[in-house]
Amino acid sequence: MATKSLSPGRWGSSSGMNGRDREERRLAFRMTAPSLVLMALVAAVPIGYALWLSLNQYSVRTAGLSRFVGLDNYVAALSGPHWWAAFGQTFLFAGLSVSLELVLGTAMALLLNLAFKGRALLRTVVLLPYAVVTVVSAITWETMFQPNLGLVTNVLSTLGLPGGDVIWLGEHGYAMAVIVLADVWKTTPFAALIILAGLQVIPAETYEAAELDGASKWQAFVHVTLPLLRPAIVLAAIFRTMDALRVFDLPFVLTRGANGTESMSMLAYTQLRENRLVGEGSALSILTFLTVMVVSVVYIRFAGGNIREVAKEEQ
């Protein structure tokens, strides 16, 4: 990373600026190249290779034996029931967990923005689940809902409420509820902190003005706070949605994809690793990739005006 020295007074005179500019651009190129090359090699190249794999069929018996089948793997995936089931479940999971995280995250952010004794303690406590490995979050909620030994199942059956004698991970709706809870528990802190950051820059005068106009607290929240918070909430929504659509760990640990909780990533993994169907698995992983990319583009186009503004500022 050696560089030729630049002459002093670089910011002072305008003469020779082009040479220095070129020098600076060259340095910038050299400093970013290692990261870009690595990301290209380990992200772009494999995805290209996956495209190729997905156009072939591989023998499960003879290693190395394959034949070109064109788009057959895609046709099979898109016309069969498994892909669409996984697609639907993934979006159901993402919709449920992200909306809960945004509502709960906004509420937590509002709390953390109030002045009260114990605010620092609350912030620490709220942040703790963020430190938990996703697999552990899954196990934690498994212990909560396990028949007989779970806290929730025990409390429900003691109170005589429904759900106490249900095998939660054994039925579709209940299993999905546990998966969503495990996700909400671990990732709401993230949403809350992003929204809190947005909340802390709303000037106090805005509220004073609303109060003078006779707005109630609720009216002030709906008509003043929420619109000003929109960019922060949209941002949290984008990050959480992109993450939720890739969900894998939670259903893997909690149900192994049983009872209709298989996600897109899990389906691709199962075909590839467990069923040794390299072509089909690759086609499914490309479909997952395309789905996530389409959603992110749609998000940034329709909801992410502020993202583009930030991007412009960066230039």
């Binding site: 560089t3 910011w11 651009r25 910038a28 190129f29 400093m31 970013t32 990261s35 990301m39 380990v42 992200a43 494999p46 995805i47 996956a50 794999l53 109030l114 002045a115 009260f116 605010r119 609350l122 406590v125 942040l127 703790l128 689940p129 430190a131 490995v133 996703t134 697999v135 552990v136 934690t140 498994e142 212990t143 909560m144 007989n148 030994l149 806290l151 528990w185 902190l193 992003i194 950051a197 820059v201 106090a204 992109m242 890739r246 894998f248 760990d249 893997f252 897109m264 990533s265 691709a268 993994y269 992983s285 490309i286 990739f289 503004e309 930030v310 991007a311 500022e313 960066e314 230039q315």
Partner: protein, 300 residues
């Protein structure tokens, strides 16, 4: 500092140069009782699952299967079993190696890239930032699937190196975005005076920016470490033996000490063991983590 910038940008009110003063939170001493109900509910939601995980890890046999609210005969047998489990210890070693190596390499590469992106004149900067950003949204399965085939061809399948390389790919964008926002916080005047003294941009980076960015580097290291430690899909796809498996995979495949035991006790103990260091980390570095999460998030 970086939280403030993040906040300003998040609210779309960024005015370069003008720092928003830290306001005292409003509304002291006029809290509605409902607020306290809500505070307690939020704390309960955050803490009760932790309590139940620890509770489960301290029980065995009947007291486990009856779901006692307080373990009547707390026992550390599950913990002893976990520490006697050679596969778990191997997994711990693997996780530490993978996380430390990936974090270190990512920080070195990313600090170069972030400096160029934060400070230097560069062609197509916006495009490069967008490309780096897009990698963070890649579903890991799209990379894990082909790597599964490639790694088996070239002998990287089921090795630590075979995990470190793809994890680095996902760690880099996170590190670059967080660091870029930290580097931007450092006042330009400091570099300019270094230039006046005849320093090159690279010397300015090494002698001025890097030392000042130590807090930012530490924050980035924590965030990258947590995310690498947490990663599961690549780890489960690209390994098959205990020699290469990191902790999350080992726990996911954990079975009880004996066939007749409810394995959840031991699994809970293993979960507690790997959660404690991270909880301590969060308690110690809370401010850093919060500023890094919001700064990196707003920019990335």
């Amino acid at each position: 500092m970086s939280t403030l910038t993040a906040q300003r940008t998040a609210a779309g009110t960024a005015t370069p140069g003008a720092r928003t003063p830290k306001r005292r939170p409003r509304g002291r001493a006029e809290l509605h009782p409902m607020v306290w109900v809500f505070v307690i509910a939020v704390m309960g939601f955050s803490l009760i699952p932790f309590y139940w995980l620890v509770n489960t890890s301290l029980k065995k046999g009947v007291s486990l299967s009856q779901g006692e609210l307080f373990p009547s005969q707390p026992t550390f047998e599950n913990y002893v079993a976990v520490f006697q489990n050679a596969e778990f210890l191997l997994a711990l070693r693997n996780s530490v190696i993978i996380a430390v190596v990936t974090t270190t390499v990512a920080l070195v590469f990313a600090s170069f890239a972030a400096y160029a992106l934060a400070r230097l004149k560069m062609r197509r900067k916006a495009l490069i930032l967008t490309l780096i950003l897009s990698v963070t949204t890649f579903p890991a399965i799209a990379i894990a699937a082909p790597l599964f085939s490639i790694w088996r061809e070239i002998g990287l399948y089921d090795t630590l190196l075979g995990l470190i390389i793809p994890k680095l790919t996902f760690a880099l964008p996170l590190a670059i975005y967080t660091l870029t926002s930290f580097f931007r916080e450092i006042p330009r005047e400091l570099e300019e005076s270094a230039y006046m003294d005849g320093a090159t941009p690279f010397t300015a980076f090494r002698k001025v920016i890097l030392p000042l960015a130590v807090p930012g580097l530490a924050t980035t290291a924590i965030l990258v470490f947590i995310s690498v430690w947490n990663e599961f899909l690549l780890a489960v796809t690209l390994t098959t033996s205990p020699e290469a498996r990191p902790v999350p995979v080992a726990i996911a495949f954990f079975s009880g000490t004996s066939e007749f035991d409810q394995p959840l006790g031991t699994i809970s103990a293993a979960s507690v063991i790997i959660t404690v260091p991270l909880v301590v980390l969060v308690l110690l570095c809370q401010k850093r983590i919060v500023s890094g999460m919001t700064a990196g998030a707003v920019k990335g």
